[in-house]
Amino acid sequence: MPLNIVVCLKQIPNPDLQFQIAPDGKDIKREALNYKLNGADEYALEEAVRLKEKSGGRVIALTAGPKRTEQMLREALAKGADEVTRIAFDEPAAYDVGKVARLLAAAIRTLPHDLVLTGVQSDDLVNSATGGLIAGILGLAHASVVTRVESKAGGLEVACELEGGLQRVYSMALPAVLTIQFGANTPRYAPLPAIMKAARQPIKELSPAALGLASWDAVSLPYTFGVRGLSPPAAKGHAEMITGTVEEQAKTLAQLLREKGFARR
């Protein structure tokens, strides 16, 4: 059965970087950051493309984010998405997951969707919430932390990861939302011709009006949300640091391992 698949992709600051807090304390300093596709979303995109390749259908990649996310959307086209849409929500940090999920849900309503995929978590905000919220808002069936998806007559069979290496297997009806876990597949590299082609493909842009809103502030929310402040985490740790040159560090470490009785001989 051909599937219309929407995959939600988020662009995040590379989390390997070190971060500084902006002067107003409400966000990180963003001037010198480089951005990438969120880790789990690489697996969600690959899963979407594989399902399409197997069952037929279309993959639409969807993001809510500023102009810079166009690069990520082109990457998605090069890796097999058929169409890409950007909700032109320019708030760089977008800390309120409820608001972002409502925007994504509103956009998904306007797109054909038998299946919606998200990543299991965004590595910048670590909410693990967007997929479940979208399912609840749209009234769709859902399953989370999915490591395996098979299309079965009229529905899906999915395996969901639990703690300690266990998996729970469900059969489920469509339409559905799944949050895809790291390691669910092996994401492909984009072939060069596809990258060239993606550079010329159009990116659909959704303004507030396209989602029936006067502005992005007009999203109706059952609460008010605010960031009180960001800070470097208070170091509760007490790691004793071994300093010096690598040779000195190695000497101290070897000595420590001997003292504690861990070095053989």
Partner: protein
């Protein structure tokens, strides 16, 4: 969670109730009531196994009948499934993965960690509706026993025709390998070792200490090592005498599996890596340079 609930309730003055869903879970209800709380016990054959729809309906039914100010859910694989969907279905505010929660007048303040634990955020939510919050396991010390607990049998409405997800089975890992959970010494490799070709270095180091090689999840996802070597929430929980973390950032899901090791040594190039928060000994260094140098020292 009971500890956090009791602490918040002692400040706001309301009761703490624990909702327990399942079938034949009376013994668990007794154990929970031993913590001095009211247990709302909802037993139903449709709740024998977790399914998103049946548990979602049960949770919605309890929220409607009790109208709590705050709904706490554990930030676990099952919690990420239940809590956001409940918030979406009932149009409730949601804040997830909290380290701490407190009331501030009409508002709820939540402490969260962002960007590989490198940034802490305080966020506030105000609403006239019940707020859904997930709390990170280990965010508080477990609650001790307390008197006054009771069990209240509760019926929840579950419409079987609206259960779209059917439980089929639980799969357990089958691979044959050494059991790292039994090892006294574990040297674990993370994405910081850069290439699969660097694994023999980790193996050599583990061997010099009489230990075994463990790994963070990305390495087992990429099949550099079998899944059985993965330490963390979705892998093994280990309590060795020595745990050496080589190029591991210290994400909460990894730390959950190794924080109780007697001695933790962390090697990482990034001085702000959160692994240094749980480590006893930290070394800011390139693990690919430090380990060969240390091996040389150990041999001399």
């Amino acid at each position: 969670m009971i500890a956090i609930g009791r602490e918040l309730a002692s400040r706001s003055g309301g009761p703490v109730r624990v909702a327990l869903f399942g079938e034949k879970v009376r013994a668990l209800a007794d154990a929970l009531a031993g913590h001095g709380v009211e247990v709302l016990l909802a037993e139903d054959p449709a709740l024998a196994e977790y399914t998103p729809d049946a548990y979602g309906q049960a949770a919605q039914s309890i929220v409607e009948s009790t109208r709590p100010r705050l709904i706490l859910v554990a930030h676990t694989s099952q919690g990420y499934d239940l809590a956001p969907a409940l918030a979406g279905t009932m149009d409730l505010p949601l804040v997830t993965n909290c380290l701490a929660l407190r009331f501030d007048g009409e508002r709820i303040m939540a402490t969260r960690r962002l960007l590989n634990e490198k940034v802490q955020a305080e966020v506030e939510i105000a609403s006239s509706r019940p707020i859904v919050a997930t709390v990170r396991p280990g965010a508080a010390k477990a609650a001790g026993p307390a008197p006054g607990g009771i069990i209240t049998s509760t019926t929840v409405r579950i419409d079987g025709s609206k259960v779209r997800t059917r439980f089929l089975s639980i799969e357990r890992p089958q691979v044959q390998d050494i059991d790292i959970a039994g090892a006294d010494i574990i040297v674990s490799a993370g994405r910081g070792i850069q290439k699969k070709e660097n694994l023999p270095l980790i193996e050599e180091f583990a061997k010099a200490l009489g230990g075994v090689v463990g790994a963070s999840r990305p390495l087992t996802d990429m099949d550099w090592l079998p899944k059985t070597r993965q330490v963390g929430q979705s892998g093994k929980t280990v309590r060795p005498k020595l745990y050496v973390a080589c190029g591991i950032s210290g994400a909460m899901q990894h730390v959950a599996g190794m924080k109780d090791a007697s001695l933790i040594i962390a090697i990482n190039t990034d001085p702000s890596a959160p692994i240094f928060e749980v480590a006893h000994v930290g070394i800011v260094a390139d693990v690919l340079k430090l380990l060969p140098a240390t091996l040389k020292e150990l041999k001399s």
